[in-house]
Amino acid sequence: MHAKFGLFAALFLSLSMVIGAQAQDQEPKPERKPGHYNTNRFKQLYEEFSTPNQYRSASGAPGPAYYQQQADYKMSITLNDQRSQLYGEETITYTNNSPDVLEYLWVQLDQNKRARDSKSPLIEPSGAFPAKMASSFVSEYMGEGFDGGFKIDWVRDEKGNPLPHTVNRTMMRVEMPKALKPGDKFVFSIKWWYNIPEHTVDRARSGYETFEDGNKGYVIAQFYPRMAVYSDVEGWQNSQFWGRDEFALPFGNFEVSITVPSDHVLDATGVLVNRKEVFSKEMMRRYELAKKSYDKPVLIVTQDEAERASKGFATSSKTWKFDAKMVRDFGFATSRRYIWDMMAVRIGDRDVMAVSVYPPEGNPLWEDWSTRVVASTLKSYSRMTFDYPYHKAISVHAKNQGMEYPMICWNYGRPEKDGTYSDRTKYGMFGVIIHEVGHNFFPMIVNSDERQWTWMDEGINTFVQYVAEQDFGAAYPEAIAPNETYPSRRGPAKAIVNYMAGDQDQLAPIMTKGLNTFNFGANGYSKPATGLNILRKTIMGEDLFDYAFKTYAQRWMFKHPTPEDFFRSMEDASAIDLDWFWRSWFYTTDYTDIGVASVKKYYVTSKMNSAIREMMQARGMSESDLPPLVYLVEEGSEDFEEDMRTQTLNDVVTLQEFIMDRMTPEERAGLKMPKYFYEVTFEKPGGIPMPIIAEYTYADGSTERITYPAQIWRLNDASVGKIIASEKEIVKIVVDPDEETADIDTSNNAWPAEEIVGEFQTFKSNIKGQ
């Protein structure tokens, strides 16, 4: 058998060569194609990735020589509520854990983005406008503008001697008396103040909002000079804060005391260490109750109390003291107009406090849902990554805000003045709280470099947000009724199609700095989140994905991962080579488009077909030279005969002889008897080599799904054929029936072709029907 088949194969091959040679004689010599590099879409990412080293291992884990710097802060902060100014004095202890000698230190002055000499406005193109809001016209063209930015009073060493320092826009270089050796610490202090921006007017990430009664709500962050990151991949972080790309910060311990008017309430990153000094006895009593309340929040400050406090303006002050360990940043919120509630949530073997701080303007939405959303989010994220390691998570309501800091975040979602709210306000509020509380995990703990890679925190976080939203909807059906599942906007593959089908001139790969992308939201949030969702649901499966994702999160908890650490970990922990997916989804602007190009129906016969007959004649061979063969004849071709339709495999003599000669009756009884043979050709106009998810529908109405892994495209990037042997007639084939691959053009997804009714036609026919 083997020998004869070998002979046949040789015959076939040599025949092909003869035909090829003849063609050459007849036509002018074709130009020889030049050689090429490896352009296969499944090529490994060796050229894109840096070589693993002692700091970062090939597995995606931190290497044996991995290090990170530490910055510990002691700060004393004072708020002037009347003038909306913030004053601070901070002492930074910087520990050089790197093997390098540091000649200078870089400190980030993010407030300088709002300084009068800021260059941020200068990189924004502008032109004539048909109309503009009067307020922005006044501030842009008629005023001197807001006097923002840090005013640095001094920079001193431990002994109080002034230290030379140079401000380069949003960064400040501090010169040390001598270079900082590996393992050494340097202690220095900075005194500063700045005018707090009104965030509702100029959309700052932090600042104050003025309520109708004249009181202010402060959500304060990037408010102090912060150490830049020094790492094995970047050296000193040297990308300025233009306003969009967020932050890169080292971990450290914070001791912060904040002095505010005595009628304010305040919450912040870290453990409140002088609770008994700043809480009334009644607040302490309620706090003890909240620590044991797992199903509903307990009010620490009621709306009534907040409204009463709002009528005064204390001239005395109160100092709130916080200790925070292993955080990369510090934020706080304070106002006399804040309501405050808390409840406990069990995470692993510990209790964490879910906390909300909001003005009466947020009610009734906030008292009903904020703290519950926080608690649900902590559970979902902990399941997907690691047990939430901090002792609390606070959601602060600030108009139009959505911004994250360790243990604390600002969130929008404001009802109308009469307390009513629309579904979109409600879902906006749920979504933003889940998202911003989720940022505790990415990037506050899994501390990626936001300045370089928006997707590593926003994209990964938006992916887990989708999981957490679905969890929340399942846990609180009354919150999402009449919807049965939470209506997530980002995550489902179908939702990214519009973006990925866009003009290639206006797309950037995910692996692009956020500042330089055209459509920041789709690029930094939706597309990476959708990619991870596709990996989880379609390519890897939930078990393998979740294990690998968790591995990544746990490996890089309290560390600084890079994109490669993520890509490598996902492959290393799942044994799935995903280089092709990273390449196409993250490194290019390619899109998915797979369809059914053609379907041919074949019949099996023992009668030689013309293709083989011609080949035999050309070789001067006769049928007896061949091993027993079965032949496929295409329906409607010259070899096709009508009676083939009614024949079964039992009628194919060569096949019957083979079976009768070699198989026992028992074995024969176990044989399948496929009656229909199809050659299905799948086409791939899109660049991304996604798996082909094919759903076959049979004449009896039953369906069968076969997923051909993406590797089916490895040798032919444009089209592939598959022979389907079936006992039942196939009446329909659909590629990607659940729309899970972000296929941008579904008009080629079905055989026979189906008319796609778009949303425009659907809408038009609906209004006609009314």
Partner: protein, 160 residues
């Protein structure tokens, strides 16, 4: 310092960016352009409030006729479409909510054979200088896009 020129920072998972998208498809059987424009509901509400009064509240469902009329007026006033240098008439079909966005449906019959298409869309440019309106135009199998912003509010597309 001019801080308000540089509003591009902004924040939030929803609003770190200001963008609307419009899918525009040529329907050869009706010889018309079919537009589905998606605008964030809160942006639309904010601009309507700025223009027509702070009390305006977009319903999400069962929109009042006054609101529907304001949406139509605002949307239509911010589109200009030409074929072969001639202004086209826009037939506003209606709007529909999709989570946090409003979908606007507009049908634009052509004045003859599809030739050079001119699109101008200034939706929300009066609200923020960061607003971008992305137009995805599909004629047959050919797709082209325009990225419109306040200093570049229009563009011309040619299809084979």
């Amino acid at each position: 310092m001019n801080f308000s020129q540089s509003k591009n920072l902004t924040q939030g998972p929803v609003h770190k960016f200001y963008v609307s998208t419009a899918n525009i498809e040529f329907n050869s059987s009706t010889n018309s352009l079919e537009i589905v424009q998606r605008i964030f509901t809160d942006d639309l509400e904010n601009v309507l409030r700025a223009r027509y009064g702070a009390q305006i509240k977009l319903a999400g469902v069962n929109e009042s006729e006054e609101n529907a009329e304001l949406i139509k007026r605002y949307v239509l006033n911010h589109w200009t479409i030409k074929n072969n240098n001639q202004d086209l008439v826009l037939n506003y079909l209606g709007h529909q909510y999709d989570i946090d966005q409003v979908k606007i449906f507009i049908e634009v019959p052509l004045n003859g054979t599809l030739a050079e298409l001119f699109f101008e869309n200034k939706t929300l440019f009066d609200l923020t200088s960061d607003q971008q309106n992305i137009l995805h135009v599909k004629v047959g199998d050919e797709r082209k896009s325009l990225l419109l912003f306040s200093e570049n509010p229009n563009g011309v597309l040619n299809f084979n």
